[in-house]
Amino acid sequence: MASIAGFGSYLPARVVTNAELAAQLDCKPEWILEVSGIEERRYAASDEDVVAMGVAAARNCLDRAQCPAADIRLLIVSSASSPQRFPGPAAAIAAQLGLGETPAIDIPVASAGSLFGLALASHLAASGGPVLVVATEKMSQAIELLPDQRNTAILFGDGAGACLVREGAGLLRIAGRELGSDGTFASDLRLPLAGPVEMNGRSVIMQATRKIPRAILAVLERSGVPPADVQAFVMHQANQNLMDRVAKGVGAPADRFYSNIRRYGNTSSASMLIAAAEWWTGAALSPGAPVCFAAFGAGFHWGAILAITE
């Protein structure tokens, strides 16, 4: 069975407060906090792209896992904000990490990308060796800071996360997965080639508040784990109000849902792994504790992964 052997993250230095955004978006800072739970987010520098952030998160992960880059047998990179249609950032990140001709693939499925990457890695690590999953997003390039775009512009930030998955013992053993996709409402959340992000917030919320709890409950039920026994939920940091609704839908205490959205905003696919890297640093769980990862995003794609501390 595959395990997560380490997490890593990278966040750009520039902090963008609600006060700074509110001035450009013709709204109040308090309104931003009320509707999103976000106080500030990070924006990458103009010369800092998804490759640079992805490499930084990957190195942080490999350092923390004490894993030489040469051991990696597959790199999976999730990014929905890469500036070009092809190639995606995977090959460039692999090159900068010194992975030689190690295969490197892109999965541009936006917010659920790191969850899908983790699920794929947990399958592939058993037969192919260690898999490094990187999620890297420069969402500040996918928004427009204009008053008529405020509903989406307030949400997003930049950053990258990573995790290492390999066969055998690690930090967390992957115990179950539940993934889903439904293109019925594909146009309700998308980033056209010319940008900016287009989002039908009501549709996204209606689908997410049903599909995320359903996926979590499905993966828990298959493993015979009651929701109340899950010690931590680490999910895509989309919106604090959404995370609170998911907690209610699952029937678990809201304080078991790790949240850093107040400081980083929604970093699309990077958010779950950034959150995981922070959460794990402060986690003090006994062996055998169930932990649940979950995400939902454009497509729609969604899912949940159950892991057990080792």
Binding site: G201, R210, L242
Partner: protein, 77 residues
């Protein structure tokens, strides 16, 4: 109580605001409901009317006004 009255009760309970908009007025544009209230409304409709609202019907336009909700619920009963 007719369907519209039952829907009105649900909306008032979710929004905690007794001043309902007109039957053809948007529940959202004037701020009567916010986006996060809509899933609660849908769950309450399922319970009140004994219907199952599939994911494929979770189009916010179907729940934009009291009249639209009434039409939808009537068709599902």
């Amino acid at each position: 109580m007719n369907n519209q009255d039952r829907i009105a009760q649900i909306l008032k309970a979710v929004s905690q605001n007794p001043e309902l908009p007109g039957a053809d007025e948007s529940l959202f544009d004037g701020g009567y409901l916010d986006s996060f209230a809509l899933p609660e409304v849908v769950a309450a409709l399922e319970k009140e009317f004994g219907i199952k609202i599939p994911d494929s019907d979770l189009n916010p336009r179907k729940f934009e006004t009291i009249n639209k909700i009434e039409q939808y619920v009537g068709a599902r009963q």
